[in-house]
Amino acid sequence: MHTGIKHHCWLRPLLLLVLWLPLAVQAREVGLNLSLATPVMDAGSTQTAFIKIALQGFEQESQAQRSPVNVAIVLDKSGSMSGEKIANAREAAIMAIASLDARDIVSVISYDSRVQVVVPATRVEDRQSIYRAIRRLQAGGNTALFAGVSKGAREVRKFLERQQVSRVILLSDGLANVGPQSPHELGRLGQSLAKEGISVTTIGLGLGYNEDLMTQLAGFSDGNHAFVENAADLERVFQYEFGDVMSVVAQDLNIEIRCLNGVRPLRLIGREAEVIGDRVRTRLSSLYSEQEKFVILEVEVPAHAAGSTLDLAEVQLDYNNLALREKRQLSGLVQVAFSASEQEVQQAVDKLALESAVEQVANEYSRQALERRDQGDIEGARSILQKSAKLLGSKADSLSSPRLEAQKAEALKDADEISSEDDWNRKRKELRERQYKRSTQQTY
């Protein structure tokens, strides 16, 4: 009886989830999966909990039914790109465009100290003239990155439509030195573009670019980011990117979380969010076919008596369904039960949710470590990474998760390498890329 009640208690959220499942599995509808890392919590004390809000992209039925894309490829042709780099970039762009068809719109912009619209926004019909224009690109000059992105966005905007995938793909190998050059300013441009439904993917080539700027620009508009050390890998990255672009099934995913019953939101880990009182808002630009993206919200739950249940938060998702070509809304509720039994609490743990939460928390540690390192506090950075590795290690054991185990190894390796001066430039780019990919669940 006693246990029965308890079972009943922690089953309720599960049941609720089960109730949502039919909707989730319905083809051509995004799945909204809400879970709590600790569905049963210790009674009698104030504690924190991790809510995982997962969005599951449905399967794109066929290539033929994909949404048209509107892509601007913005290529750096500054002096540092000369030689093999620009040649590889040209071929990568051409290869990528080859995978598009007549539904799609493409434009190519190049920049050095000047910006040049190489191919104005056009449907991919006369491929040869597009390729010819790209092949004429020669490297030389400075890096007017901001203006390049601006003009790229303008080309996309010429045919802007909510039902197609709009993206600016920026390739740069150097520091922006004409026009705005701070990550903050580029980030705000990304923010504005995101509001129009344009996301910016940034590809950093070689070791000369500013990874903070590139991740901020991508982050605020929720595009992808990649660090490509070797120009020969550009083709592969472009293919991944275009694969992503062509498999978008939902766009403009706005998540609003309202914490109930005195639950206080602490932070949304890994993503930009707006927290006002008990409300948390965040936005994802796009969800790809069969892809799961999630956000982790850390909340503070006030003390409750054992045996009681509590509604923690309401989640509402508004998004643009590209398959149905209409705006959809989903919502869900997260609940928690309280128990006095340690064992019960342990048993109830939602391993997947906790795994995700730990992954993100450790990722956040990694960011903090990088910040410390930037301030010159190498010891502090290392100790943060070691703390992170310890957390990952303990959770990997308790959850028997190979993923966390791998991440722990990574953290330990980072802790080793973070003190070395030699290869710090590359290491920093790798770290930024990894952090970015982990927090945005980038597909490649």
Binding site: A147, A153, H184, S192
Partner: protein, 569 residues
């Protein structure tokens, strides 16, 4: 002396060329200044038209924002609920933050709410904007707003540039892309008209620690102020998108560059075909609300047109110099030939004189020998008289030839003095004696007052020639004049000999010219008298060659010549 002719000719060529060159340079300089001025105006107009394009963006943005403000007002029924405003911010592409001020003097903040939780971004925003909200003076109605005052200037400039466009020198700016906004519904169009007509609004350029922020404020009919804080990165991006790029920019500007610079002086955007560092040819500060930004025009300092101009200037000058040079050369050649001919003639005369001298000497010698012989035999006086005439005339002829030879030597600067010891008085007397019969015939009575009486070293030949010339002149030009007085004395290291006749003398106007070679004074007296015209000049040149002089002394009746000869120590 020798190079005078070529020097003169060179001067003749160079002077006009230099003069014309200088004038040409002046002209070109003026022209360049004019072109520079025109270029400056052209640049100014180009920059103005860019500023105009940027201003257009603000005008359009203003329209859009006023429209959105109206819509917000209507949606919320003057209530401006936080919910609505946040939703607006979330979707607005241009606006990063929004504030609403109300109450007395707009000092009360209605949004972001004062008594409700704020997001982190909002908290930062409130901290940043606090000073702005405390200065309500900035929110002045449109009439006092600097935007509208300045609006006139760009419009005027646009008028200028459009008239310039008509001449086809400047490409028309491409039509600005319309702002991307989905506000096509009919009611908002009418709302826009209202808003523009009635509501006070304006722009504020606000310097916060993150840089320049542009704030558009709009006052509703209840006196509340809505402030739209623009996303400055997006604003810059939109402004850049209005400016030309790539080949279009190159074509518009040619070999020049326009740069847009922010308040810190760093380049935000640049276009045009010219890429080099250096000072700007022209700077234009932008109008409000981009007051601290500026446009710079860069171009190479000297234009190619100038180089071409210089060539077209130099080419005619070169041609002129060439022509004049040729002319000068021809003249010089002609002059040379003349000189050669003259020299040939002189040589000829010289040769002939030499040829004449030998037979004449024989004639004189034999005539004198005959005279001596006949004088002993006391022959017929008529024969003696004839002989006297023959010797006299042959002496005269030999003097003439001596003169010619000396003159030609003088001309060739080959006159050489031969100093030898001789008695001056005796020599003078001897020369005088040879002239006495002639002088007596002409009614002149010569008397000599010798005052030296010593042997001295001097050139007896030169003195003889001088005296011969003076005496024969006297014989020619002062007939029947009575007494001819000669006197000699020694003074210092010079011999002085004075000749004074009682003839008609020399007119004052001619006193200088009589020494010039080939000059013969012309008056009643001299008419019909033969002469070569070289005698006096030659005499003076000889005296001067001897370190002395031959001068015409003033005063008294008749002519008075003074010979001075420097003695050889």
């Amino acid at each position: 002396m020798r190079y005078r002719a070529p020097l003169l000719l060179i001067l003749l060529v160079l002077l006009p060329v230099l003069l014309l060159g200088w004038l040409g340079l002046r002209l070109q300089h003026n022209e360049q200044q004019l072109v520079g001025l025109q270029l400056q105006t052209l640049i100014e107009q180009q920059l103005q038209s860019v500023d105009q394009q940027l201003q257009t963006h603000f005008r359009q943005l203003e329209g859009v924002l006023a429209q959105q403000a109206q819509r917000l007002q209507r949606q919320t029924d003057h209530d401006y609920s936080s919910e609505n405003l946040r939703a607006f911010i979330k979707d607005s592409v241009y606006v990063e933050q929004l504030f609403v001020l109300g109450g007395d003097g707009n000092s009360e903040r209605l949004f972001p709410p004062r008594f409700a939780p704020l997001s982190q971004a909002e908290q930062r925003f409130v901290e940043q904007m606090q000073p702005l909200w405390q200065s309500p003076d900035l929110f002045r109605p449109a009439a006092a707003d600097p935007v509208d005052q300045r609006q006139q200037a760009p419009v005027l400039a646009a008028g200028d540039s459009s008239s310039y466009l008509a001449s086809g020198q400047l490409r028309a700016p491409s039509a600005p892309a319309e702002l991307a906004l989905d506000l096509a519904d009919a009611d908002s169009v009418t709302a826009k008209a209202e808003a523009v007509a009635t509501a006070p609004s304006g722009w504020i350029a606000w310097h916060a620690n993150t840089g320049l922020m542009q704030v558009y404020w709009w006052r509703d009919d209840q006196g509340r102020t809505l402030g739209f804080v623009l996303n400055s990165a997006r604003l810059l991006s939109d402004l850049i998108n209005r400016l030309p790029e790539g080949e279009l920019g190159d074509r518009q500007l040619g070999n020049a560059e326009i740069r847009l610079l922010d308040s810190r002086g760093s380049t935000l955007y640049s276009w045009g075909g010219y890429r080099a560092q250096g000072n700007a040819l022209r700077v234009l500060w932008l109008n409000h609300p981009l007051g601290s930004w500026r446009l710079e025009y860069h171009a190479p300092a000297g234009t190619q047109a100038g180089a071409q101009g210089a060539f077209t200037q130099v080419a005619p000058l070169l041609l002129l110099a060439l022509g004049l040079g040729l002319l000068g050369y021809l003249l010089y050649r002609e002059h040379g030939r003349e000189l050669r001919l003259a020299r040939q003639r002189v040589n000829f005369v010289n040769q002939v004189s030499h040829e004449l001298k030998t037979p004449l000497t024989n004639v004189r010698l034999y005539a004198e020998m005959l005279q001596e012989r006949l004088a002993d035999d006391e022959q017929d006086p008529v024969v003696l008289r004839y002989l006297n005439v023959i010797t006299g005339e042959s002496q005269r002829l030999s003097r003439l030839i001596d003169n010619v030879l000396s003159f030609s030597r003088l001309q060739r600067q080959r006159l050489q003095l031969r100093f030898e010891s001789a008695d001056v008085d005796e020599q003078i007397d001897r020369i005088l004696q040879t002239f006495v019969p002639l002088l007596l015939q002409r009614g002149i009575e010569a008397e000599f007052a010798a005052g030296i009486g010593a042997r001295l070293r001097y050139d007896a030949g030169a003195l003889e020639q001088i005296l011969n010339n003076l005496l024969s002149n006297c014989e020619k030009y002062a007939p029947n004049s009575g007494r001819l007085k000669l006197e000699s004395w020694l003074q210092g290291s010079s011999i002085y000999i004075r000749l004074q006749d009682q003839g008609p003398g020399i007119e004052p106007g001619e006193q200088q010219r009589i020494f010039e070679p080939f000059y013969r004074s012309s008056n009643k007296l001299t008419d019909g008298v033969a002469g070569t015209g070289i005698g006096l000049g030659l005499a003076r040149e000889l005296a001067r060659a001897h370190g002395g002089d031959l001068t015409l002394e003033p005063g008294g009746q008749g002519a008075c010549f003074l010979i001075r000869l420097e003695l050889k120590p």
